[in-house]
């Protein structure tokens, strides 16, 4: 399938997962990601896979735990309140070193919040969410095409590092239609799952999928081993896109759908002669620290972080810059989407205040 097709984000994501070899999907209905489950329900039986609607998000993520532990490529998807419910299972999956893909099509919060697009789950996705010392790799696509590409890659990354990977979209990316191509992805090299519980066939010692280590020093040793893996990921997997940054005096930074809006504002500002560029983190964890740390402080006077939240990623931007460049924030929240003109106004104010 190399020609372009017009698809809704949620459906394109589901198709990409199936093409990546995801044979099992466990979910629970919640707006605005329900099309993922609907697509899976229709396609999985025809394509040698399983779709199961669980009794709750808690059950769904634990079905993912079982299936991942049994060696399968498996995915679940939900939206913010449902992802909160899954945090128990996510912590256990991280603690048992199981690969899987978790999709969060983020909506406004806290609580029941709203059903409009938001980015207010950044802390939850990148700083833990569940209990314990662990990380998820978090991908933040900004177009339906990138959603497709990153979904395919997510399964490979999960298998390579034996850890859960989150695709963090938002209600807008999930609901909008864009042309996509499915042919482009080259799979990465995947290690064999010798640890999976597939039945011993009386040929090997039993495999145990587990996150319990009752001796403190054993648990510490395991966490330190896992941290070494995290260090490799921080080194190798951090990703961002730089846009018109070469001569920029102001850097706008945004991820996901907000980056599309910010990019329009950057283009408008360029038309008015303002030297502005954009850094778009593609991985939220690992955060692309170097993209910020290596900015030329003689040239770049301001960084503006734009989010659909009260300011969550901005903390990582500030930590990466280590106070070398002043960081401003602009955000809309609760499901309100910022306009390019609002962002442009902020850019102009910073430019005039230099």
């Amino acid at each position: 399938m190399s020609e372009k097709v017009l698809m809704k984000g949620n459906e394109a994501l589901a198709e990409a997962a199936i093409q990546a070899g995801c044979k099992h999907f466990f979910g629970y209905p919640i707006t605005p990601q329900t099309e993922v489950a609907a697509y899976m329900a229709k396609q999985m039986p025809k394509r040698d896979g399983t779709f199961l609607q669980a009794e709750s998000e808690v059950a769904a993520i634990n079905m993912v735990y079982g299936a991942a532990g049994a060696g399968a490529r498996v995915m679940t998807s939900s939206s913010s309140p449902g992802i909160s419910l899954k945090q128990e299972g996510i912590s256990y999956i991280a603690g048992a070193d199981l690969p899987c893909v978790i999709v969060n099509i983020v909506r406004g919060g806290p609580g029941l919040g709203g059903i409009q697009p938001a980015q207010s789950d950044y802390f939850q996705a990148t700083k833990g969410g569940g209990h314990g010392d662990y990380h998820l790799v978090v991908f933040a696509p900004s177009s339906v095409q990138e959603l497709v590409n990153l979904t395919k890659e997510a399964f490979d990354v999960a298998d390579i590092y034996r850890m859960p990977v989150m695709i963090m979209g938002d209600g807008m990316l999930g609901q909008m239609m864009e042309p996509v191509e499915f042919g482009a992805y080259t799979p990465r090299e995947i290690p064999e799952k010798t640890w999976a519980t597939t039945g011993t066939e009386m040929k090997r010692k039993h495999n145990v999928v587990n996150s319990l280590y009752i001796t403190a020093s054993d648990l510490e040793e395991l966490i330190l081993e896992r941290q070494k893996r995290y260090d490799v990921i921080e080194e190798k997997e951090a990703r961002f896109e730089a846009y018109k940054t070469e001569d920029a005096e102001i850097i706008v930074t945004a991820y996901g759908i907000t980056a599309r809006i910010a990019q329009t504002a950057v283009n408008k500002a360029r038309e008015q002669g303002i030297k502005v560029g954009m850094i778009r983190p593609i991985t939220l964890w690992p955060f692309p620290k170097k993209a910020f740390a290596e900015l030329d402080t003689n040239k770049v006077k301001n960084v503006l972080c734009v989010e659909m939240s009260m300011g969550q990623m901005v903390e990582d931007v500030r930590l990466s810059l280590d106070c070398k460049i002043p960081v401003d924030f602009f955000g809309r929240t609760g499901g309100v989407v910022p306009t390019p003109d609002e962002v442009l106004t902020k850019i102009k104010a910073l430019y005039e205040g230099r």
Binding site: G89, T197, M202, N210
Partner: protein, 245 residues
Amino acid sequence: MEQVFKRPHALVDVSEHYCPGCGHGIVHRLVAEVLDELDIEGKTIGVAPVGCAVFAYNYFECDMQEAAHGRAPAVATGIKRVHPDKVVFTYQGDGDLAAIGTAETVHAAARGENITVIFINNAIYGMTGGQMAPTSLMGQVTQTTPYGRTEQNQGFPIHVCEMLSTLDGVALAQRTTINSVKAIKETKAAIKKAFQNQIDKKGFSIVEVVSTCPTNWGKTPVEAMKWLEENMLPVYPLGVYKDKE
């Protein structure tokens, strides 16, 4: 010389951590004997609970997964959907199965998930030191019911086999106990049937074993067995509640 009694192959040769007089050791052995007799150890994947049997993954020779508290039937569902031709069982206590994991239990049963559930009902939380369980008896004194379980405060015990037997997806719901050689033999036969049902693709099978917890009941092993007979068996009558042919 013929060896007439030995450790089942499916039971790992280690010292278990269970207290003297606890029923888990007996039931572990019965499960392992059944895995041996049906010759399914190599194709079985077990799911351990949270509670006293949390270390069951160290005691069975088959592949094992350790589930979060109460989630064993959901974890087993995930495994079974990946490996429909393998044998998948959960081993759970009363807090795990009938309190925090009620939803997972009921819905796995309602789906007729083709798995085997071994349920140990000893009317108390053992691992955390003797708190009220969903199956604690009326009036029973525990750490969290120091004045006894009352109708007004904690309500009534849950009868798992009776409740699940109303669901169409359930192939077998049987309650047994371990207070005599005869009872242990009956428990083993029920466990064997619960595994055979899965092999025959009959659906969800549960064996509830009424068991003892001398440590948290504050009794000797002998007293505990007597307490089980006098107090638990009248509330939890033994028998076959559902047997779908």
